[in-house]
């Protein structure tokens, strides 16, 4: 079972993706969710660039748009983890899962 399936089974996310320097390293986004992934990538990358410019140390972002929730976790300076989930999902549980499984995501 992949880590994406594990998260789906727990009801945490719909799809996930790891970006390494902006390029997709691993993803469970299906082709029909390509547009959503594109929006998530651009928006979350912009947010973390702004965070970096402001010399702040936030490493987690959630963007609720329509019925979707895009979540981003800056795992290290080059690696961004992106999730798409239902807008009312529990972000605390997603955060806890990411925190416990950081190394697994980095190894993808």
């Amino acid at each position: 079972m992949t880590i994406w399936h594990e998260m789906q089974d727990k009801g945490l996310i719909l799809y996930g993706c790891v970006l390494q320097n902006g390029d997709v390293q691993a993803s469970s986004f299906p082709p029909e969710a390509k547009k959503q992934l594109s929006v998530a990538k651009q928006a979350l990358a912009y947010i973390f660039r702004s965070v970096e410019k402001s010399a702040e140390s936030h490493d987690e972002a959630h963007l609720e748009i329509g019925d979707c929730l895009f979540s981003g976790f800056q795992l290290d300076p080059n690696t961004l983890l992106i999730f798409l989930s239902e807008h009312d999902n529990d972000t605390l549980q997603i955060r806890q899962f990411v925190s416990k499984n950081k190394e697994r995501f980095l190894a993808l």
Binding site: I47, H58, E60, L63, I65
Partner: protein, 318 residues
Amino acid sequence: MKDYKILFTGSVCSGKTTAIRSVSDIETLDTDAQASDVTVRRKKNTTIVMDYGVLDLNTETRVHLYGTPGQERFRFMWDMLTSEFAHDAIGMVLLVDNTRKDPFRDIRFYAKAFGDYLRKRRLIIAVTHSDVEPNPDYNRYLSELKDLGVMSTVMFVDARDPRAILGVIEELISAVERDIDWDQVRDRLLDINGFSLDFYKPLYEETLLDAAMNKRGVLGAMHIGEGQDLLCSNIDDASIKSLLLNINRLTDAISEKASFLGAVNNVVIAGPKVDTLSVFNDQNQSLCLKSDKDISLPVLKQQAGDLLQWSIDNDYLA
């Protein structure tokens, strides 16, 4: 003596205390305290436990009127009222303040909060403050309620007017009591309680920022209007201010370029050792908050949504 009970609920300042007071035959029990959060903007005192009044319909029939506190933080009282004092009420009256930014959000909220309670009794939606804000109108309410799947009678009332509130009570009681002389009760109430326009005594005093600062865990706030217009801010840190403004600009850009997804409702950024920063959008305005990292996202969302309900559009009332 036959006793009936009716439960009144609704958002802060929707007129629950006023409605009960306007028809009660006894000096109403109300438990007001100085409001400490956003409600201060609309009035100084708010019910914290419950309202209680009694109306005698004739020598044989009496109605007990219970009112819930409006603020959700007194939710334990809602449970106590629905499971104890008014567990056998004949119906519930949901007072909806028509000056709220989105009155239907209140209906959705209360219909959900009292969902189990309403399975066994009638709901009447009594729309108040329509003299200040006539829209949404009656037809819009009917159409929205149909879409929401809420079965209810809608009545536009002035909570200060005993005739109007008695009309709501009549709607509930007349189905089970056919021998009440409603005209006589109406005349008696007008003689005794009168119809005073002084009941509401609203005091619009606090700014959105002050109200935000009274919310749990909020450390700073910034209010942005249409066209990225910075209306007010008490966030002094330039880098945080700039970051929030950047994120707010992003939300506008995404809502425009990715309209197929819908509008951006909010953006929250967090970290293990930093304050949480968030941007909440509501129609043409945004509320940016700097808050304690331990405040959960659902709490933050609820607080921000409530604050935005009382903002720009109601400024003319100030």
